[in-house]
């Protein structure tokens, strides 16, 4: 009964995964036979300004996004935890952006932020505030922050919903006990809510780290990696080198990306498990 799943997993995941690792030590160029070249691809990577910039972009985007998504997701959840009508409506509406593909979302924001004709420009114009206008998408330093904010607006709702679920699953008696002990709002948050929220924190931290470090479609449509390579991510670098003559090199970048995702995920899982044991 489990056979179809295992066959698919082996053929379309496990074997390709192993061959990515194998190919990263070769000079495969997509056509001819290839030789083992040891760590050459990785050495080349260190000297490749574009790939290093992409690595830096990926780390910056990944960690800042994962952090902001969790901080704002938690704040949203604390505001929306009670089951009032307004809160329930808000939970539904803030979740809407996460059901739209990152690709479409990127286009929506491109339409809004584009110079001269974009909605933001025209809103500022209408209020006579054009001196506040900057073409953020064309700015080498600011463009990546635009992508971070757009990504935050898109996925904060999904993160918040999971935190709401986590908060609501906490036994209300514990809050009564905390109240009787004279604990205020922030003390209760620190000593009751946060520790018991560990399962929700784990799932949100892990999924946001993976999702943010693998960011692809939202950047493809919003900036295309530009200006220059200012917002290009490792995943885009890999995609853009799948067909050309640099495929062996692209797999080395893939291996780097696997490590970039795996290391923080494993660390945060271990940390969450430690916490869970501590509070049990």
């Amino acid at each position: 009964m489990v056979l179809p799943e295992i066959i698919l997993f082996v053929v379309f995941f496990a074997l390709p995964f192993l061959s990515v690792i194998g190919m990263s030590f070769t000079n495969y160029n997509g056509i001819q036979s290839f030789d083992f070249v040891g760590l050459d691809n990785f050495r080349r990577l260190l000297g490749d300004a574009r790939a290093m910039r992409d690595l830096q972009n990926t780390l910056l985007f990944g960690f800042v996004s994962a952090l902001l998504l969790n901080v704002f997701g938690l704040i949203y959840a604390l505001v929306l935890e009670k089951d009032t009508r307004l809160n329930r409506l808000a939970r539904t509406l803030i979740y809407v952006p996460s059901i739209i593909s990152g690709f479409i979302s990127g286009y929506i924001w491109k339409i809004i932020l584009t110079a001269d004709t974009g909605a933001l420009y025209r809103v500022l114009e209408a209020f006579g505030l054009l001196n506040l206008w900057t073409n953020y998408l064309a700015d080498m330093d600011k463009a990546i922050w635009v992508v971070i904010v757009v990504n935050l607006i898109q996925f904060v709702g999904g993160t918040a919903i999971i935190y709401v679920a986590g908060i609501q699953s906490i036994d209300p008696e514990l809050y009564d006990v905390a109240k009787m002990d004279g604990a205020g709002y922030f003390k209760t948050l620190r000593y009751v809510t946060m520790p018991l929220l560990t399962p929700a924190i784990r799932i949100n931290v892990v999924t946001n780290i993976i999702g943010s470090l693998a960011v692809f479609d939202i950047i493809m449509s919003l900036t295309g990696g530009g200006p220059g390579y200012a917002t290009e991510s490792l995943s885009m670098f890999i995609y853009r080198n799948v067909y050309g003559g640099k495929t062996g090199y692209a797999t080395a970048v893939s291996v780097v990306m696997i490590l970039v995702i795996l290391i923080p995920v494993v660390i945060s899982m271990l940390e969450m498990n430690r916490r869970e044991r501590k509070y049990e």
Binding site: M1, V2, E5, I6, L8, F9, F13, L15, P16, F17, V20, M23, V79, L80, N87, A90, R91, T92, L93, I94, Y95, V96, I99, I100, S101, F103, I104, Y107, I108, W109, K110, I111, I112, T114, G118, A119, R122, I161, I162, A165, G166, P199, A200, I203, N204, I210, A214, F216, D217, M220, S221, S235, I238, Y239, V242, Y243, S254, I258, I261, V265
Partner: protein
């Protein structure tokens, strides 16, 4: 007094959250409903010509058909495959099965783009590029871990009584699963169908890598090709974006309770 102020502040913050989530869609609609030369950013013009133009120019009809096929077919197989695998993983006590389970769940950490080079070679070798079946196989594989995880956890939390009764009545394990257990999995099946349908509809990476022929393009690909060839005609671009996000939004509006519930149960049980 202090209480009323707090509750007023709360309401304002909630409204701000709603505003932030919704304002991009408002501007998108205004842009989509305006003629090329538009008058106001605040009031829509209600010009629908843009929609007609893009449906024709961007070949959105074909793209909607392709996206529908590549949502429904993989979804069907995902449910069949992962529900039965989840049943086995939940009930088996063999170490071997446990190892497979953790390997499959662990693969969630590896985004498909990382495998693009060997997958491209593989797809070329089996003739799967530009075909429904080739892309379907990859889409099923990509969605295995999450659905397997949800089914396995759900089945684990269920008692063995029903299946044991069925086995005593002479059913094989296979029959016991499909006749007796599967119908009781409705809540989690509904969750997986809804979440995966949206995620399959939004598929971008796999489609981008393996569908290049114009008659095989899915909705996002058709849009990006349209934008590349017609340039920055913002009202038309907005119109395509509105059409593309309509199906997930409609599904969400119809099943919103299940969405929120699904996300919540999936998360807290994990």
């Amino acid at each position: 007094m202090k209480k009323r102020l707090l509750s007023l502040a709360h309401t304002l913050i909630v409204l701000l959250m709603i505003f932030i989530a919704m304002v991009p869609f408002y501007f998108l609609l205004v842009t989509a409903l305006s003629e090329k030369k538009w008058r106001s950013i605040f009031v829509p013009q209600f010009y629908f010509g843009g929609f007609a133009e893009v449906i024709d120019k961007a070949h959105l009809g074909t793209a909607f058909f392709n996206s529908t096929v590549l949502t429904v077919v993989p979804l069907f197989f995902i449910i069949i495959i992962t529900s039965s695998a989840g049943f086995l993983f939940a009930r088996s006590e063999k170490k071997f099965d446990r190892v497979w389970y953790y390997l499959i769940i662990g693969s969630m950490m590896v985004p498909t783009i990382i495998l693009s080079v060997p997958l491209y070679r593989l797809m070329r070798a089996i003739g799967g590029i530009n075909t429904y079946w080739g892309v379907t196989l990859l889409l099923i594989t990509e969605h295995l871990p999450f659905a397997t995880f949800l089914y396995t956890n759900f089945i684990r939390s269920r008692s063995l009584e029903l299946e044991e009764a069925a086995r005593i009545d002479g059913c094989t394990r296979f029959q016991a699963f499909w006749r007796v257990v599967f119908p009781t999995l409705k809540p989690i099946t509904a969750t997986i169908v809804i979440l995966d349908a949206v995620s399959l509809w939004n598929t971008y990476t796999i489609a981008l890598l393996f569908l290049q022929k114009s008659e095989m393009l899915t909705v996002p690909l058709a849009i990006s090709r349209f934008v590349n060839s017609y340039g920055a005609e913002w009202n038309l671009m907005a119109a395509t974006a509105v059409l593309a996000l309509l199906p997930p939004v409609i599904v969400f509006a119809a099943f919103q309770k299940y969405f929120i519930k699904g996300v919540m149960t999936g998360a807290v049980k994990g």
